[in-house]
């Protein structure tokens, strides 16, 4: 087995708001092997971004707080590191691409400078060398030379996201966290940006944690997939297994709600109900109120992850033998 570059264990993150304590991430276990791309899939509010920000130690505090667990990067726990040690890792060994390119670049600084400052900080380059590096990075993502002196408002959304990618890769990170990098873009631009990320990931041999709610993107880019629901991982497998043999009722529900081109289905099969209110999560299995297979026990006891096959973990009591499973 390859080295685990990133290994998250029993992570719990809470937001303390006026309306009460929101547990955004609970009992989350996840790992990413070196050189691989892991897709983290879930609905809005499932805790995907919070998980990513926890790795960067950027969960806004207040109101957010990492309560317990560990996030090991190269075997070292990031959560016990001092802030100055974390700053040497951020933007250098682990970097991040954000969701909305329209707001994640600083409007009053040139795009060239926004790349330069990270390079100067982490690679110890002088201003001139950093400038050269910024120009090279921009060219690499397909932004013509000579535009490094331009400001973000002079670029389109797709180009801004390219700038974000150039910025994130400028220090040649080992781990790239991409938080829904294509969600805010037009469909045609989405494909371009994904293609670019795939190409650069190979070129820089960067491992990647790709956050998305788009299963199509996962199939395109990822090696492994983790399905997240209400703050926890419900199923983890390699892409092939997950797409051909999904085990968790939630994962099956997700696939059921994608329109198929081959079959003539009069209506899509949505997952009934809504995401639970994060201030008032259900007891036991978080998914049980919406689960077609749920039995009484599901409301009383949280499931324990079961490895149904090598590298395929499912958090559902059907696989603990406590609830009758699918008839197959």
């Amino acid at each position: 087995m390859a080295e685990r570059l990133l290994d998250i264990e029993d992570l719990r993150v809470e937001y303390h708001t006026d309306d009460g304590v929101v547990t955004a991430v609970e009992n989350l276990n996840l790992y990413l092997e070196k050189g691989q791309t892991l897709g983290l899939v879930g609905e809005t509010g499932a805790g995907k971004t919070t998980t990513a920000l926890s790795v960067m130690r950027l969960v806004p505090d207040p109101p957010g707080r990492i309560i317990s667990g560990s996030i090991r990067f190269h075997g070292e726990d990031l959560l016990t590191k001092r802030v100055d040690e974390i700053k040497k890792i951020r933007g250098n060994k682990i970097s991040m691409i954000f969701q909305d390119p329209m707001t994640s670049l600083n409007p009053v600084l040139t795009v060239g400078f926004q790349i330069e400052e990270a390079v100067m900080l982490h690679q110890g380059l002088d201003h001139r060398a950093a400038k050269k590096r910024a120009g090279e990075m921009l060219e690499l993502v397909g932004i013509p030379a000579g535009r490094e002196g331009d400001y973000p408002h002079e670029f389109s959304g797709g180009m801004r996201q390219r700038v974000g990618i150039a910025m994130a890769l400028s220090c040649n990170p080992e781990l790239l966290i991409a938080d829904e990098p294509t969600t805010a873009l037009d469909v045609t631009i989405q494909a371009q940006v994904l293609e670019l990320m795939k190409k650069l990931r190979e070129q820089f041999s960067t491992s990647m944690l790709l956050i998305t709610h788009d299963l199509g993107v996962v199939a395109e880019v990822c090696d492994h997939v983790a399905i997240m629901y209400a703050g926890t991982i419900v199923e983890y497998a390699d892409v092939e297994t997950l797409f051909t043999n999904p085990r968790h009722p939630y994962t099956r529900g997700l696939f059921g709600s994608i329109p198929s081109l081959d079959e003539d289905v009069p209506r899509l099969q949505p997952i009934k109900g809504l995401m639970p209110d994060p201030t008032d999560l259900p007891t036991g299995c978080k998914f049980h109120p919406r689960c077609p297979m749920a039995k009484d026990i599901c409301a009383k006891r949280a499931p324990v992850g079961v490895e149904v096959a090598a590298g395929h973990r499912v958090n559902c009591m059907m696989y603990e033998g406590l609830v009758p499973g699918y008839e197959e």
Binding site: K88, N92, T103, N106, P107, V108, L109, H122, H153
Partner: protein, 308 residues
């Protein structure tokens, strides 16, 4: 950009015409006869009437207004009814004192207000934040004339540190500048704090932190420049307003500025001086506003792109 500035300068002409019209009209209908005032209470009616005719005060309103505008455009604002000196000279000799006071007050305000505002914002709800916001509230609420008198009482009368009034040396400048500066500083502090609080929530601040930049760089390089627009706006307003003369403070400290000149002129019904003073006030205010608008372009490239 140059065309924008030129256009804005041309726009000053209708603005000044409008201001002239309003001021002139108010003065025209104010009770009191300038001719009678110049000659004194006991002057015979015939002499007063002769002077009225000589001064053109019997002409119809449009004629008088036209003459006023025509002369003002050439820098002739008439003569003071009291000192008999040209109004332009009166204002010109007083303006340096006002400029000196306004500039030092704003300098004090900026040097205090911006750093305290930033610290307050980055330590929101801390003891420092609560204390500085409390002091700022006192600073905004305290009337300048009262603060000026208290300062005279404490620093001049009790301790004898600074002269209580007058003009000339830096020692004379300190107390009036501090008096005005503290209230301006309070306003700038509050604006800096709220603007910074808004900015530090933005996505690009998170991006900056994700690069591993230190908090100092994140705040000063990525935060402050974005927060600066509203801050520069209030600084400009404060400065423009002070250039018209800090009337009460100048009076308390016997500071020979435009503000005190205006107060005296109003009390003595010295119409030409009041008219000229208001025109000067409007002009300086407009010019400061223009300067602020130009400054915006240097702070935010998106605004610069709009100045075509």
């Amino acid at each position: 950009m140059h065309r924008y500035i030129l256009r804005r300068l041309l726009l000053l002409i209708p603005v000044m015409l409008g201001v002239s019209f309003v001021v002139f009209t108010i003065m025209f209908f104010t009770p009191g006869d300038p001719a009678a005032m110049m000659l004194g209470e006991r002057a015979p009616a015939e002499e007063v009437a002769a002077l009225r005719t000589q001064m053109g005060l019997d002409d119809p309103f449009p004629v008088q207004f036209g003459r006023f505008v025509f002369n003002a455009a050439r820098g002739d604002l008439g003569r003071s009814l009291v000192s008999r000196r040209p109004v332009f000279q009166e204002l010109y000799s007083r303006f340096p004192a006002t400029l000196q006071l306004a500039a030092s007050a704003v300098l004090i305000a900026v040097l205090m207000g911006i750093p305290i505002g930033i610290l307050s914002a980055t330590r929101q709800y801390s003891a420092f934040d609560a204390m500085s916001m409390g002091i700022a509230l006192v600073g905004v609420s305290m009337p300048n004339f009262w603060q000026g008198m208290m300062m005279i009482l404490i620093f001049s009368v009790t301790f004898g540190l600074f002269p209580s009034s007058g003009y000339g040396t830096i020692w004379h400048l300190i107390m009036p500048a501090v008096t005005i500066g503290t209230s301006s500083a309070a306003i700038i502090t509050r604006m800096t704090r709220s603007s910074m609080l808004e900015v530090v929530r933005q996505d690009y601040i998170r991006t900056a932190r994700a690069k591993g930049l230190s908090e100092k760089v994140v705040i000063n390089r990525h935060g402050l420049k974005n927060a600066l627009i509203p801050i520069v706006t209030v600084i400009g307003l404060q400065f423009g307003w002070l250039l018209g003369g800090a009337v009460l403070t100048e009076t308390v400290f016997a500071w020979p500025g435009v503000g005190r000149l205006m107060v005296d002129a109003i009390r003595q019904r010295d119409f030409p001086v009041v008219q000229g003073g208001v025109l000067l006030l409007a002009l300086t205010f407009s010019v400061v506003n223009l300067a602020v608008d130009i400054l915006y372009a240097y702070i935010d490239p998106r605004i610069k792109a709009q100045y075509k």
